[in-house]
């Protein structure tokens, strides 16, 4: 039995237009500013044109608000109808649910609103955005979706959650400072500022500030990952973070394809690691800053390992026997060869590479899509080959780099067999067969 059709909050058009009003104003100023100022209209012209454009935008947003409807159909799946010019109705199969995010951009946050993003597994665009709902409605809908996807009673209300950890702002700040990339960006910023001041005097600083400086990348990352909170609830692991724009994401259990432990050089003395995660359906957006796939920005190793055991229950990477590449790898990778290693057990594959920044990837066999053996000319000359594990898109690109040809061939054969066994045993994804 399908539920009645629901809409997002009626204030939505106003919130949406306010979100891009500053950009609109700037656009009018830049494109028509000079012409408008020189004419008799003056500054009023700029303001007037902005208002006209804003009113038109408001009208469009009102239409799209009217079109945006969502409901649960007879099968309990979420249907979303949207689009003014190109109308569409999307069905999100909740048995394939990957994540539910609650985002609060600055303007929406001021109004007390939140946007819901629902991701299901699938090729191409497989998400729905519901903008905007009141904070209370957003959490209620999120719990309803999670409960329905788990086959639980969806009227039970929000699942209780137990806070696991909060990353201290000081640790986050220090960790970002202790990265080679930050040092590089800092140097670049100094270079640009000095260069501009040299070229055009002190006014050059304003040009730099308007154009933005490379260091902003780090500042943005800090703001996005600020107050990173991890909590455990029956419907999954909850991640919350953000200074200006807050995000809350729920990863249901058993959806994690791979986890990566990253240890930059300067973090090692402090014993810190960062965790990245790949969940199918996530990170379809070209999210290069990578905050969308951060599972934990920085934490001591034990804390990170504890969180890892929660997202990939039953995996024991510490017990996996690792093999190392043959001797000729020294000539292929003179710096990182010492840290290259490969291993697997019935449940997971473990991949290690990097020397300055160490990376350790743990991949669930049951989520690997395909395997690939590859060999370039340099590798062939040294009798080496690499094996790639293809997993859904994200930051993690698992590759066993530069193993001896026979080793690589063995890894390939073993991986193919382990994947076959994992697919056969994996009941959680057998939704199509019942």
């Amino acid at each position: 039995m399908s539920t009645e059709r629901r809409r997002v909050h009626p204030i939505t058009p106003i919130v949406k237009v306010s979100t891009y009003l500053p950009a609109l104003f700037l656009a009018v100023l830049i494109t028509g500013g000079q012409a408008l100022f020189s004419r008799p209209f003056g500054a009023l012209g700029v303001l007037g044109l902005t208002i006209v454009v804003a009113v038109v935008a408001l009208g469009y947003e009102y239409l799209s608000y009217q079109r945006l409807q969502f409901w649960f159909d007879d099968d309990g799946d979420l249907r979303v109808q949207s689009g003014v010019v190109f109308q569409q109705e999307r069905r999100l199969q909740l048995s394939r649910l990957q994540t539910v995010d609650v985002n609060r951009p600055l303007v929406a946050r001021v109004f007390g609103f939140a946007a819901l993003r629902i991701e299901v597994a699938g090729a191409g665009d497989s998400r729905a955005d519901l903008q905007y709902l009141t904070n209370a409605d957003a959490s209620a809908l999120r719990s309803e979706i999670l409960a329905r996807s788990a086959g639980l009673d969806h009227t039970a209300g929000e699942a209780p959650e137990a806070p696991l950890l909060v990353v201290p702002a000081k640790d986050l700040f220090v960790s970002l400072m202790l990265r080679a990339v930050t040092v590089f960006l800092l140097l670049l910023t100094v270079l640009i500022v000095v260069g501009n001041v040299w070229a055009s005097g002190w006014t050059g600083i304003f040009t730099v500030l308007l154009g933005g400086v490379p260091l902003l990348i780090v500042v943005t990352e800090f703001a996005q990952l600020y107050n990173f909170t991890v909590a455990q609830s029956p419907d999954g692991i909850r991640l919350r973070h953000g200074l200006i724009q807050t995000q809350a994401r729920t990863i249901p259990p058993g959806r994690v394809c791979a986890v990566e432990f990253v240890e930059p050089l300067f973090w090692r003395r402090k014993g810190w690691v960062r965790l990245y995660v790949t969940v199918a359906g996530l990170s379809k957006s070209d999210d290069d800053s990578g905050t969308e796939s951060v599972l934990l920005p920085v934490a001591p190793r034990e804390v990170a390992e504890d969180l890892f055991r929660r997202v990939m229950p039953g995996a024991q990477p510490e017990n996996v026997e690792m093999i190392r590449p043959i001797g000729s790898v020294k000539r292929r990778s003179p710096i990182q060869w010492r840290y290259l290693a490969a291993g697997a057990d019935e449940r997971i594959a473990v991949l290690q590479h990097g020397r300055i920044t160490r990376r350790r990837q743990i991949v669930d066999h049951a989520r690997v899509q395909s395997v690939r053996l590859s060999q370039g000319p340099w590798e062939r000359a040294l009798g080496l080959a690499s094996v790639n594990l293809d997993i859904p898109p994200g930051r993690i690109r698992p590759q066993w780099q530069h193993f001896g040809l026979e080793q690589a061939h063995g890894l390939l054969a073993m991986q193919t067999e382990r994947m076959r066994a994992a697919r056969a045993a994996d009941k959680s994804t057998r939704w199509m067969q019942n």
Binding site: G122, A123, R367, S370, V371, P393
Partner: protein
């Protein structure tokens, strides 16, 4: 050494299928057309621009392209192969950069059968496999339309039987 590489990238015991030899013809044709265009451009430049050797260089580059590319195209097409095994499809390719992709039938989300205008004129079709991973790059170019359609149907049927979701 070479034989070990051969075996690693063409596991024995599987029935390997190769591409249609017509693909060599098509690719050589495209190469030749391109090379001729470069040579013609070189001649035109030589006749109009001083010094003459700039144009001559371009024309020689066109000839070299054809001389090196002609045998290369043949080797490259012959290096492609695929085998349908019990649980997965294997596609191998490449000379300088060798690859062997193993795609389990249960992971297939989409099988594309495509043919461009030149391919169609010569009766060629290519098959592209898609899984939930964007990095799965398994394509089989240059099959006859009947082979491609039959392969697609077999893959789709096996994929349905063994579907494992994500």
């Amino acid at each position: 050494m070479a034989s070990k590489v051969e075996v690693a990238f063409r596991p024995e015991g599987d029935t390997w299928q190769s591409l249609s030899p017509k693909l060599i013809t098509v690719r050589r044709l495209i190469l030749a057309l391109f090379a001729v265009a470069v040579v013609v451009a070189g001649v035109v430049v030589a006749l109009t621009v001083e010094p003459v050797w700039i144009g001559a260089l371009i024309a020689v580059a066109g000839v070299l392209m054809l001389a090196i590319g002609w045998p290369w195209v043949g080797r490259r097409v012959k290096s492609w192969g695929y085998a349908e095994r019990a649980d997965d499809l294997v596609v191998g390719s490449g000379i300088w950069f060798r690859r062997l992709v193993i795609v389990p039938y249960g992971r297939l989300q989409l099988v594309d059968v495509k043919a461009g205008p030149i391919d169609r004129a010569f009766g060629l079709t290519s098959v592209q496999l898609h899984t939930a991973a964007a990095t799965t790059d398994a394509a089989i170019p240059g099959l006859s339309p009947e082979t491609a359609a039959a392969l697609r149907d077999r893959l789709a049927a096996r994929g349905e039987q063994r579907s494992a979701g994500l």
